[in-house]
């Protein structure tokens, strides 16, 4: 199968991201000289790659492909070493040092408002803030005792999954209940059911929200493999057999 690999330039302007496809290569040519040029320039230009059907995070993908390339194609490397790689190595190292090797640059879970039952004391809330805040990728946490609500803002690049957040709440000795999530991922349809899959592989079964919010119409507007950001509610006692979280959609918007 001759899949296409896109080199996508991603820029940030204030609060919004924009992407631009600047090159498309055949997957079969991943290891060719042309692609290596592309990769090298991409790193310099902070370009992210995305292979359709392979929702691997861009920056991670760049790094992995670069490493694979350097390991598997020493001949080509030698050819480009003087002209490209070594001259751009400092930039590459800088990108890797900034976490590009280990962290995705693409948001998935973006915000969680988790209702917690049973938390009655100030040290309980304090500990909850600390344990949630210690999760890698969490940018800000606030816990309201009176509302029994933990609000978690996540960094743009994170690998947090919702199951881990619920487990953290449970490990604190309390009960996670309903939650409102803002999550980005790739939509696909299976037997009439829309499923949102995040880059970490967590999946959400998108279900229409309450009447009057016209979500059903919005769900019908989804396209397979479309990148979307969904805001929705996880019910108080979700049935998570099969690792599929039910998400009652409140809002859907395209992420591309």
């Amino acid at each position: 199968m001759d899949e296409k690999v896109k080199a996508v330039k991603k820029t940030t302007d204030g609060a919004s991201d924009s992407t631009e496809i600047i090159e498309t290569h055949s997957r079969a040519r991943l290891d060719t000289d042309d692609f290596s040029r592309c990769v090298l320039r991409s790193v310099r230009d902070a370009v992210f790659f995305k292979a359709p059907g392979h929702p691997v995070n861009g920056a991670y993908q760049i790094s992995r492909r670069l490493l694979n390339f350097t390991l598997l194609h020493r001949t080509h490397l030698r050819h480009y070493a003087m002209n490209s790689l070594i001259s751009r190595l400092p930039i590459l190292l800088l990108v890797l040092a900034c976490g590009g090797l280990f962290q995705p640059a693409q948001a998935q879970l973006q915000k969680i408002e988790q209702t917690v039952f049973g938390m009655d004391c100030a040290p309980c809330a304090h500990a909850m803030e600390q344990s949630l805040g210690s999760m890698e990728g969490v940018e800000n946490v606030s816990v309201s005792l009176n509302d029994g609500l933990a609000t978690v803002d996540l960094a743009k690049a994170n690998r947090i999954n919702y199951r881990g957040v619920r487990k953290t709440v449970e490990n604190g000795g309390f009960s996670p209940r309903e939650a409102t999530l803002k999550v980005q991922g790739t939509a696909r349809q299976e037997e009439g059911q829309w499923i949102l899959k995040t880059p970490t592989g967590e999946e959400y079964a998108l279900q229409p929200g309450q009447e009057g919010t016209s979500n059903e119409q919005r769900l019908q507007d989804l396209k397979p493999n479309q990148q979307v950001t969904v805001t929705g509610q996880i019910p108080a006692s979700p049935n998570t057999e099969g690792a599929l979280w039910p998400l009652h959609v409140q809002r859907v918007r395209s992420a591309t």
């Binding site: 309980c124 304090h126 500990a127 005792l145 604190g172």
Partner: protein, 286 residues
């Protein structure tokens, strides 16, 4: 003139200095207790969480005993806690009453290692829990329970059930403490029951104010006969009933509690009659 400082004075100063030092130590994360000073409660601690308790206790018979107890708690899981506590006697009368300074704080003069298993829990709503805990502890006496008489190791078993919310608290529990005889000597077995009712005024439920709670605690104790040279000591043991107010303040990772118990009924030998039980406890959640 240089004032004379006894060993007990120096020990007291060290304890106060230690508490002050802890008071100014760097803040850390934690989670916490919410309980009474004397009665049984259902403590909570997250998996992997630690907390430290420093307790100052005083039991008054003819003379007033004074002791501290340093306790370290660890959350093996969110439902299973381990606790180790070490007593340091600052002032010991010749015959202390057979009791536990605080039901959850260990025997008056024994090293204690305990396990707390929260075997039942229901999360009834925001801030609301109904739960039950079993306590199993091992005791090792560090000094004579009566001058010249020291027992062997002991065991403490207790069960407690309770309700906690943002405004109302209630716990009821009972326990049993037994020491093995050593050279035929051991104190009487202790059976006790505690009832705690608590309330948090609306002012202290605000996010901006410390979390202060007021409790009324009742503690009933029944002590079996002491054994000396393998025989029960006639007339030893008896029953006591205490009631008293306590308070608990929580802020961030810190907790302070204090309280007193007033004897309402005592049917014990005169030497074992008590005036007041006092307790001050400092807690820090790591």
């Amino acid at each position: 003139m240089i004032p004379h400082l006894s060993t007990s004075h120096i020990q007291s100063v060290c304890v106060v200095a230690g508490l002050l030092w802890l008071g100014f130590a760097s803040p850390a994360a934690g989670q916490g207790g919410h309980g009474p000073a004397f009665g049984l409660a259902t403590p909570t601690l997250p998996q992997g969480g630690w907390n430290y308790n420093s307790t100052l206790m005083s039991v008054g018979t003819g003379e007033r005993s004074l002791m501290t107890r340093q306790s370290l708690w660890y959350g093996l899981t969110q439902h299973l806690q381990l606790n180790a506590s070490v007593p340091v006697a600052l002032r010991s009368p010749p015959a202390s009453p057979t009791t536990r300074g605080g039901t959850m704080m260990g025997g008056l003069s024994s090293l204690e290692i305990s396990t707390y298993w929260r075997f039942h829990r229901q999360y009834l709503g925001v801030g609301k829990r109904f739960e039950s805990t079993l306590l199993v502890g091992g005791l090792y006496p560090t000094r004579d329970y009566v001058q010249g008489r020291r027992s062997g190791p002991g065991v403490h078993l207790a069960a407690v059930t309770g309700y906690a919310s943002r405004s109302v608290y209630a716990w009821a529990g009972s326990g049993y403490q037994h020491y093995a005889a050593r050279d035929g000597d051991r104190p009487g077995d202790l059976r006790y029951g505690s009832l705690v009712l608590g309330w948090r005024p609306g002012y202290f439920r605000r996010a901006s104010t410390p979390d202060w709670r007021l409790f009324v605690e009742a503690l009933g104790e029944s002590v079996g006969p002491e054994h000396h040279d393998g025989s029960a000591v006639s007339g030893s043991g008896g029953e006591k009933l205490f009631v008293g107010p306590t308070t608990l303040g929580l802020y961030g990772a810190w907790g302070l509690s204090a309280g007193l118990l007033i004897p309402m009924y005592q049917d014990v030998p005169q030497a074992q009659e008590e005036h007041l039980r006092l307790m001050f406890n400092f807690t820090y959640w790591f």
